[in-house]
């Protein structure tokens, strides 16, 4: 029995288990506060609204319809996963990539322009998105490495610059009668990502494409890169202590820039995986940056900054974001899910303290038990 207790204690001490627990606590508290806010706005439908957010596609009674909308949620979860990988990759190297949003915008602009303007096939468009987004991120990296510019500030500035440039660029390939870019399917069908029959799994939701398995594959690759390769080790060492890394003969400036390039490439890939499915067109009149990159921050931290964790957390964030569309519109607005995911990011700030507290409690418990055993021995 003693043995069993010990294993339970060590299970709670396991980093992954603690991260998982912390994330679940964040989610529960986030939802609770969201519920309270709904109660304040209109007490009548608060419970219903929270259930609607959590149910998302299960809102539809018909299985076919539900599977179809499940597919749509997954389609949107792919770019989110890649953005969160971008954020967590940079974070592991000590950089806070708040520019994932701008890199995502740049990627979207590049892939749509190559698809609609140059009429290129899909793989060229994907490559364009990756390269352009990586180049944008490289600016932040270079500024950080050579000019000591805080990457958060430079990323934010680039976010806005990217938004304005992309709006300007895509106005040249927009539908004359609407503010949206031309439809992908009718203008250049070759630019749409191949589906390889995956759509049949989701009741012919034609937007489900190879982006789905590829995103998961990228997550695994990022994990391997960070944990199993020399490059990943060097990058992490640079993040922990730039001076020490330099002392050990690592090229610390090069490493910072390379990190941003990889992070940017991931965000750009996310944009390509979204806009090349044709599920959404770009509105050239938009005046705010798409939330995908910012939600990526939420997903990265909720996933315990682990690439595999990010797969689940980004699905969850997208699940509640999509679910926001099903709240009773006569009482609430769909932004309530943005509110809840922002709350979750805020709560993620407490994770470090939560783990500290948990270890402290476990220490105390063990101490008590040790004392008891000692006493028992004496008597």
């Amino acid at each position: 029995m003693n043995n069993e207790k010990k294993s339970k204690g060590s299970l709670l001490r396991n980093g992954a288990v603690q991260s998982l627990l912390a994330s679940i606590v964040c989610i529960i508290i986030g939802l609770l506060i969201g519920y309270v806010v709904l109660l304040i706005i209109n007490p009548a439908g608060a419970a219903g609204a929270i259930v609607a957010i959590l149910k998302n596609f299960m809102y539809y009674p018909s299985a076919v319809k539900a599977t179809q909308y499940f597919g749509s949620t997954l389609v949107k979860a792919c770019p989110l996963l890649l953005c969160s990988l971008s954020v967590l990759f940079a974070y592991k190297v000590g950089l806070f990539n708040i520019g994932a949003a701008g890199q995502y915008v740049a990627g979207a602009g590049a892939c749509l322009y190559f698809a609609l303007g140059f009429k290129m096939p899909w793989y060229v468009c994907v490559l364009a998105a990756v390269v352009v987004a990586a180049a944008l991120a490289a600016i932040s990296g270079i500024l950080k490495a050579y000019c000591n510019v805080n990457e958060v500030i430079s990323c934010i500035m680039l976010n806005w610059i990217a938004l304005y440039v992309v709006n300007m660029l895509l106005s040249t390939v927009k539908d004359p009668s609407s503010p949206y870019s031309l439809a992908l399917g009718s203008t250049n069908a070759a630019a749409a990502l191949p589906t390889l029959g995956l759509e049949k799994l989701f009741a012919n939701n034609k937007y489900v494409s190879i982006a789905l398995p590829l995103s998961v594959l990228v997550a695994i690759l990022v994990w391997i890169l960070l944990e199993k390769t020399k490059l990943g080790y060097e990058l992490k060492a640079t993040g922990l202590n730039k001076q020490a890394a330099k002392y050990c003969g690592m090229k610390e400036k090069y490493n910072i820039i390379l990190t941003m390039v990889i992070a940017g490439a991931l965000s750009g890939l996310g944009a390509a995986f979204y806009y090349l499915t044709g599920v959404e067109q770009w509105a050239v009149t938009q005046t705010s940056i798409p939330g995908m990159g910012f939600n990526g921050i939420a997903a990265a931290f909720l996933g315990g900054l682990h690439p595999i964790g990010a797969i689940f957390s980004s699905y969850f964030i997208q699940h509640i974001t999509s679910g926001g569309a099903y709240v009773d519109k006569s009482m609430y607005c769909s932004q309530i899910s943005d509110f809840i995911s922002a709350l979750i990011i805020y709560l993620c700030g407490f994770v470090f303290f939560f783990k500290l507290w948990m270890n402290h409690m476990l220490d105390k418990r063990e101490e008590k038990r040790a004392m008891k055993e000692e006493k028992g021995g004496e008597a």
Binding site: V37, I161, M168, I297, Y332, I336, A342
Partner: protein, 313 residues
């Protein structure tokens, strides 16, 4: 030309207020990336006050009440950062980012709820305050003087005096440079950092309401404050964390921001045929370039961003 000066001054006022807010917070040792969110909250408080006040209220009362509402909202909201960063040693960049996202989302939820309560068909996130906004303005010839310009100037002078000439200010700065040393001579680091963050909430909230009343009479809260909080941070860095330099930097950035509003009034600029988006981008591009040249010899408070740990040497 007068219009350009007017817009430059009002945008510079916003930047001065918010950058000074960031300055106080960082001098106490807490990085406040969440200024953008604090601005949104301050703007929300002020805008709602403007909307629900009757236009017959005396102008001075309107100004004071609006300022009070913005300050209260900004300070309460900044408490979220203070608690997380000071008591719970959270990652300040993460919490700041969360505050930015939370600010916009919360403002939209609140405004929509209020709009829908008064008219079920109104699902916009816009607050308009056309009538009451007039109280903030005084016409002097062709120049529209905004009382907030005076407020910003006063804030600048007071900040200078407080930071460099009072015991409180010097102690505050000590906590951002070397909190352990400050603690050893009996300064309460936690209290000082709380003070720094709350002052940044005060000034940030005030900056928010000034921004959304600059030149417009209604505000769509879905847009937040369009990255202005971050521009203010750039101003703060460019101003090397010193109030007077911040004032000058704010004027420069204000000028570029104002250009995007009024460039159509200048024949020479229109003749260049530069798309309006370029003018919109200008402040951000300038700040990137400026930061690239000024960040190398940064005079940032040494202990900013590091949670205070008594046991550390």
């Amino acid at each position: 030309m007068l219009l350009l000066i007017q817009y430059t001054l009002i945008f510079a006022s916003v930047l001065i207020l918010v950058a000074l807010g960031g300055c106080f917070s960082e001098h106490s040792g807490v990085i406040n990336i969440g200024l953008e969110g604090i601005m949104v909250m301050g703007a929300l408080g002020g805008a709602l006050m403007l909307r629900f006040l009757s236009p017959d209220t005396p102008a001075i009362l309107i100004i004071l009440l609006v300022m009070l509402a913005s300050i209260a909202c900004g300070m309460i909201y900044s408490l979220l950062l203070a608690v997380a960063a000071i008591n719970f040693k959270a990652d300040q960049t993460l919490v700041g980012t969360a505050l930015n996202l939370l600010g916009t989302a919360a403002a939209v939820v609140v405004v929509r709820a209020i709009n829908m309560a008064s008219d079920p068909n109104n699902v916009s996130s816009t607050v308009s305050y056309i009538a009451t906004k007039k109280a903030l303005l005084v016409r002097i010839g062709g120049f529209e003087f905004n009382w907030f310009m005076l407020v910003a100037l006063l804030a600048l002078i007071i900040s200078y005096v407080v930071l460099y000439k009072t015991r409180f200010g010097l102690r505050l700065m000590a906590c951002g440079e070397h909190p352990q040393a400050a603690d050893s001579v009996g300064i309460n680091v936690q209290k000082m950092r709380y003070a720094g963050v709350l002052i940044s909430g005060l000034l940030g909230g005030l900056g928010g309401i000034v921004y959304i009343t600059a030149g417009v009479s209604e505000w769509k809260f879905e847009n937040g404050v369009a990255g202005f909080g971050f521009l203010a941070l750039a101003v703060m860095i460019f101003g090397q964390w010193k109030p007077v330099n911040i004032g000058l930097a704010a004027l420069l950035f204000g000028l570029f921001r104002a250009l995007s509003n009024v460039y159509t009034g200048f024949g020479a600029l229109v003749a260049l045929h530069i798309p309006s988006t370029v003018y919109n981008m200008l402040p951000y591009i300038i700040s990137l370039v400026v930061l690239a040249f000024t960040s190398q010899k940064s005079r940032a408070p040494k202990a900013e961003g590091i949670p205070y740990d008594k046991g550390q040497r």
